[in-house]
């Protein structure tokens, strides 16, 4: 049954990658609700344009990354300050998110990185893709991926230590 097989394949692809995709998107946005919406949009784009035959994880991340870029264009990403006294970006809005303090700090730090640094670091830690595959997704050279990943980690550490504004 070709139809059943297709549905099964799509469901399997979705199940196998949804958590990784969500993790990547929430690290990019710092907002779970936005991440849900962008994930939905990514899945829709994938199903509309590709289907079960094209099931590489790199392709899924390419689609999610493009959806993120479009989303950012439509709506400014809510930047999170590292200051502990700031209003929680999640509880301050209609959707109240309870995020552990230490992890919130990391998410906040990610939001404070430059866009390209946040993108590359979020993808490395979320996707299980190799540097080579990430180079394909982002259009960078592998050498550039190596440099940017490490630079992003160092910047994040400095931000979390309060050594950078």
């Amino acid at each position: 049954m070709r139809y059943s097989k297709t549905v099964h394949d799509i469901e399997s692809i979705f199940e196998a990658n949804k958590d990784r995709l969500f993790s990547y998107i929430v690290r990019m946005t710092g907002d779970a609700d936005e991440a849900h919406d962008i994930l939905q949009e990514s899945i829709m784009r994938y199903m509309e344009h590709y289907g079960a035959e094209n099931n590489s994880r790199a392709l899924l991340f390419t689609i999610a990354r493009n959806a993120l870029i479009d989303h950012t264009r439509r709506r400014r990403v809510h930047l999170v300050e590292l200051d502990d006294d700031h209003e929680d970006p999640c509880t301050g809005q209609e959707h109240a998110l309870l995020v552990k303090d230490s992890y919130r700090q990391v998410l906040s730090g990610l939001q404070a990185l430059a866009d390209d640094e946040r993108d590359i670091l979020a993808m490395v830690v979320s996707s299980d893709l190799s540097y080579q595959e990430i180079a394909g997704v982002t259009g960078m050279s592998v050498a550039n991926v190596k440099v940017k990943v490490h630079r992003a980690r160092l910047r994040l550490r400095n931000l979390l230590k309060g050594e950078e504004p």
Binding site: S23, D33, L39, Q40, R74, S102, V124, H150
Partner: protein, 186 residues
Amino acid sequence: MNDIIISMFIDDELGLDDKIEFVEKVHARADFKDETVSLLNQEKLLRTDPVEHFSPVAIPSPRRSRKMLLFPVGIAAAALAVAVVILTFSLVLQQQMSPTPYRFVIYRPDVTQAEITGSFTDWERLPMNKLGQSGYWEIDLDLPRGEHRFVYILGGDERVADPTVPAREADDFGGVNSILNLGDRI
């Protein structure tokens, strides 16, 4: 210090020659070792699954993709429900009869009209609400527990299954309906 070999180590990107270089640096330079440990500790937190840090209150609607995030909580809730069933069968019956609020959402900025039709509407079309200029359309419905079939109708004639609900089946007219299962029957 900008030793990219540390990140390559963290990301399992080292070849054999790189590994030799890395081990030699760890032994030769205390600052390199400290830098590596520092970034590894940061990585532990960075790689923590974000799902673990969002409580159930972060889930505003019982869409399938969001319910998946609550899987561990769902197991606990299911176990609790079983206990309740054993003790108070009548209460369970009441729960099964009670409707469940469900929010349907679809992203289609290119259409001027979106509707939903399904087994819960006797296949009558219901108009969906446009969420500003976001491109999203939504409708909140109270549905009885059990299995439902539905499809979105966009722009008046384009039938689209819900992209976040993997379960589907072909209808009798060449289209595809989404299959939504609300609640587990005990």
